[in-house]
Symmetry: C2
Amino acid sequence: MKKETAKKESTRTGIGRYEVRLAGKGGQGMILAGRILAEAVALYDGRNAVQTQDYGPEARGGASKSEVIISDGEIYYPKVMNADLLVCMSQEASDRYYYDLKRDGLLIIDSTNVERSPTTRVVAVPITELAVKATGREITAAMVALGLICGLTKIVSEEALEKAIRSLVPKGTEELNVKAMQAGLDEAKRLLEAGLPVALPQEL
Amino acid sequence: MKKETAKKESTRTGIGRYEVRLAGKGGQGMILAGRILAEAVALYDGRNAVQTQDYGPEARGGASKSEVIISDGEIYYPKVMNADLLVCMSQEASDRYYYDLKRDGLLIIDSTNVERSPTTRVVAVPITELAVKATGREITAAMVALGLICGLTKIVSEEALEKAIRSLVPKGTEELNVKAMQAGLDEAKRLLEAGLPVALPQEL
């Protein structure tokens, strides 16, 4: 993987801009997941990324949301306007954020926690259940989600994702978290082989 | 501290907006410090906050920058335009970011690492040295910086800052990090008693 050397130095606005929102409840690791995704694509895949989290009334109510903008060019506005990818780990997140997903955007919900999807055009995966199966720890669901994102969208390389996970999770939990990521990748592979129609992002 | 009840629901743009940039090198903990500051003011002091980090060529070169916007009203633009507070933990950060500090903004530099300040209107504190003295660990310099910010600007309450530190630092290092924060608070107190002319932010 020599992505760094292949990086395009586009200066046109919006070229290859890819907007990701990761949403759930506090304690589901969505903020850490956002940081891992941003560092993976930026430090190891050689793209640019901005990662943001808002703390306001929602955060005080227990909601947790992290946004990552990925681009090969300059990132002029650091927040999600219309998400290309929305991952919802809770019912509230799904109800609330679906509205600013792009029409052809990808919605992934954790069917362990989200009962009612806002649309049938959704990839529903029992993310938390897969995490518990793979590692025995619910908190690793965020890593399963990252593995799914990697496998389904290819916006980040496996190598980069694994490096970023190893560098950012608490010391001593690296193997556990990488195992959870692998469970997400496996599930993505299974879904794609089963013929899941996933819109891949344009080449960034 | 009953800040939550005192929170003003301003809807006018920019009222009480306070822009913070924390800059240094990778490994100095500036991203964690930004997250701690944002959670402290938002979850425990009852204000709103947005926290951002950029990953691009600079990050790949080892620079690390975290931004926090604090307001009692809506935060329409989540990035620093003109910083009210700039904390620089490295020479490169100081050289690079001084230009977008407000004219009456507060510049804090870590004199352990910054040899040449871009201005004489600066609070130069041997932050890393104080951290090593207080805890024996350089990495706690970020917590000394947070203590200084708290003591000099009052944009965050001591109680909120301590809670956020305890909730976000790695398990088992809470006491160490709070000790470093305390060293920063003590230094701020010493500086203020010595007559340091620090412009306090308008009431948020």
